[in-house]
Symmetry: C2
Subunit: 463 residues, 2 copies
């Protein structure tokens, strides 16, 4: 057998990740430390995730906007927890247009401050509420140990920012985004099963009253946060004077929320589904669902016809006509990139009216009649979508352990510990050993209300 293209996951998972991101031509390091170049295949994945999110963000009544990259330093100082959390990570512009600036500017690490300031001008009365905004942007948080997609000094994301008349309205928004927008995309499109829960006080967003999260489990048994949704209470409303006149004419502070998903989920997608041959893309997300590989020049025309038929059937498909390269190298390329289905069109098969179909998830090959292959593909892709989610779910179940105390947490996987048995002190002890509480859920596994008791903590090592 040929030398494996990638270091096996079981041998060195971080190295496998680095190699697959490079060899699938997803991304590479930029010239300035901590920065990242996202190549066409990696960007296509993010673009499709962004589009799925954007549709749902709009359908739930949010408008897209664009706020400035540069924020006066003074803005950060208005909310004590916020500046404490973010000041160690800020990049600062001190010169512009050939001169030193009178006031240095922060490159935005997140936009609660500058959007809060605008909200204070835009909101006058109760009829202006709720105010539902979202932006697609790059943000910068200085990163000492960068890792492609997972942790880079600059990253791409969407950040939603909303203002509401009551605590309840803000809470409903925070949870609707978590369940209705984020969970739908991560589970139904990315096929990554996630735990939904609340962050502990130690892990919540700087300036939030409560942070809700989606946590996925990677194939090495580490957790990855796939998105967060914050109830900011009146903290930013107070800091930026965001008030409204209620129906009785009295001035009130609004309640705000913010929520974000970043391109790090592309890294999550790689680590949740990838195997020793490369990515395995869920069909609903895959930029190309089917690649039709013409083995010889004389089969290019049939391959092109197949692609036209597939597209007509609503399948995202392309040919691979690089007959100057070896068949093996081309097959490896598409396996690395994780395209769900490969159709091989060779002269011998074709003489018998057949093509070969290779499923990326299972790796099995089957001969199919050329005439019938297109009609069966939409259903096959649906089956593969479900199979990938089921596979990840089974892995997570097999890696989830009920334990009674911090001392019993050991190794890879997710540990369920009663929060009452752990507490803030137990959490701190776990942190010394590299574990964090990923989220708190109710005894029934649901997202907790603020006054729920008897919570369960999910503990894991995390990215």
């Amino acid at each position: 057998m040929a030398k494996p293209v990638l270091t096996p996951q079981s041998q060195d998972f971080p190295r496998w990740y680095q190699e697959v991101v490079a060899k699938a031509e997803m991304a590479e390091n930029g010239p300035a430390r901590g920065t990242m170049i996202i190549r066409p295949w990696g960007y296509a994945l993010w673009e499709r995730i962004a589009s799925e999110l954007d549709q749902r963000i709009k359908a739930t009544g949010h408008d897209n906007v664009s706020f400035p990259l540069f924020i006066p330093m003074e803005f950060f100082e208005r909310e004590a927890a916020h500046i404490e959390g973010f000041s160690p990570e800020l990049a600062v512009v001190t010169h512009g247009g050939g001169k030193e600036l009178a006031e240095p500017l922060a490159v935005r690490p997140t936009s609660e401050t500058v959007i809060g300031d605008a909200m204070s001008r835009w909101i006058q009365g109760y009829r202006d509420l709720p105010l539902l905004l979202n932006q697609w942007a790059n943000v910068v948080r200085w990163e000492l140990r960068p890792r492609l997609f997972l942790r880079t000094s600059e990253f791409l994301w969407q950040e939603g920012h909303t203002a509401h008349a009551s605590w309840d309205d803000a809470q409903a928004e925070t949870l609707n985004i978590l369940h209705g927008v984020y969970h739908e995309v991560v589970r139904d499109v990315l096929a990554v099963p996630v735990l939904l829960g609340r962050k502990t006080e130690a892990e919540k967003f700087p300036g939030a009253e409560a942070t809700y999260t989606l946590e996925g489990l990677m194939r090495d048994g580490k957790a990855l946060q796939m998105g967060t949704s914050h109830h900011l209470g009146q903290n930013f409303a107070r800091a930026f004077g965001i008030t409204f006149s209620d129906e009785a004419g009295a001035q009130q502070l609004v309640y705000t929320t913010s929520w974000g998903v970043s391109a790090r989920v592309v890294g999550g997608l790689v680590m949740a589904h990838g195997d020793d041959r490369g990515l395995r893309l869920p069909p609903r997300l895959a930029p190309q669902q089917v690649v039709v590989l013409a083995i010889k020049d004389e089969t290019v025309e049939v391959a092109q016809r197949l692609v036209a038929d597939l597209r007509a059937a609503g399948v995202r498909a392309r040919t691979d006509e690089r007959t100057n390269l070896s068949f093996g190298r081309r097959a490896v390329d598409w396996e690395l990139k994780g395209v769900p289905v490969r159709l091989e069109v060779g002269p011998r098969d074709l003489a018998e009216g057949n093509v070969t179909l290779v499923r990326r998830d299972l790796g099995d090959k089957q001969q199919l009649s050329l005439d019938g292959v297109v009609a069966g593909l939409p259903r096959l892709l649906d089956e593969m979508q479900s199979a990938l989610l089921d596979d990840a779910l089974q892995r997570r179940e097999a890696a989830t352990f009920d334990v009674g105390s911090a001392a019993e947490v050991d190794g890879a996987g997710l540990f369920r510990v009663p929060w009452d048995a752990l507490g803030v002190e137990g959490e701190a002890r776990l942190a010394e050993r590299g574990y964090t509480v990923r989220c708190l859920v109710t005894a029934e596994g649901q997202v907790p209300d603020p006054d729920d008791v008897g919570l369960i903590a999910y503990v894991a090592r995390a990215y």
Copy 2:
């Protein structure tokens, strides 16, 4: 008659522009000088322009990518004209993560350098060419006299970057983007007629061999550059060592191009079509093509049904159910925002089975039967699209003057001057009086080839 909502264009055009951008809730200044907040209506316009461009950029074989915001200063110094052009406009990050950086980083003003560096790694042989990339990004060029959309320190754009095996291939790309992508969107979607031509040496992009441009005429007689496409020759290939091995195995430098359209075209759209009542949006671009205004609570239901029918007919439509506000204020709102068609649903009209249709471009009202109004709308919107382009074309023709020398250039509008009669000296004298050569065309009005002679210069004041 009521006091006009906006300062009339004829009285003070810059003030009219400022007011319409504010009152249509398109954008406002950010807290840091020169920055801009794009509000939902302004962002929806840019989002639709971006989507029209993106479709065509992809259809012509380009892949989207994302390169870093921060670029080592040293990169800029490798191309002499490039650093000379951009160094006065750079914003510089000197601190990150609480420490002073060993090497300061430039915030990208454009990405030829960092993309050229990556191309030098990605391109090996002739089979890697052409390499066709594009990115949607924010860039920063320090701006002393900011103006919303038209001139801001940070702006949103797309920048295409391609590499080719020959000068001819790069030239074909440069012109295909100009004609096939940019002109199509600006003329057919934005309904703005533009001159296509080449920039003079004085006006070309720093580091380019030649810059091609699209120039629109605004309603005050000033020109606005709507996009540019640059043939970079081998300048960046030399600076960044972008070579390939040709079919004979010899190492060659590639030829590169770059091209961009920014959100300043939103400002161009406002100034090319807007009138004393606000924006006039071309239907193909309008985020909402029809607003159905329920005059009283009892007509809300009919308005909603109309919107459902319009959407089913492929028309972008929404209701205005704000019956608590005066009819006049709501009508003015939608006129400011430039929605092409307003349908007014009032109880008296409705009793007779009618609604009132108001065309934003002409301002005329007509009574139509409720039953027939939906069926006629797609065609009406098409007619309005053409009418807006024709109107702008007639304005431009009326404001274009043939003159024989620089001395005859005077006032608003476009002046056609034989380039031989003008030359570099004439161009410099015009610059002292605030005029620039917007582009050079052939005697037949076409984009010139490099060796064409007898060119015509279009001269104007410009944004």
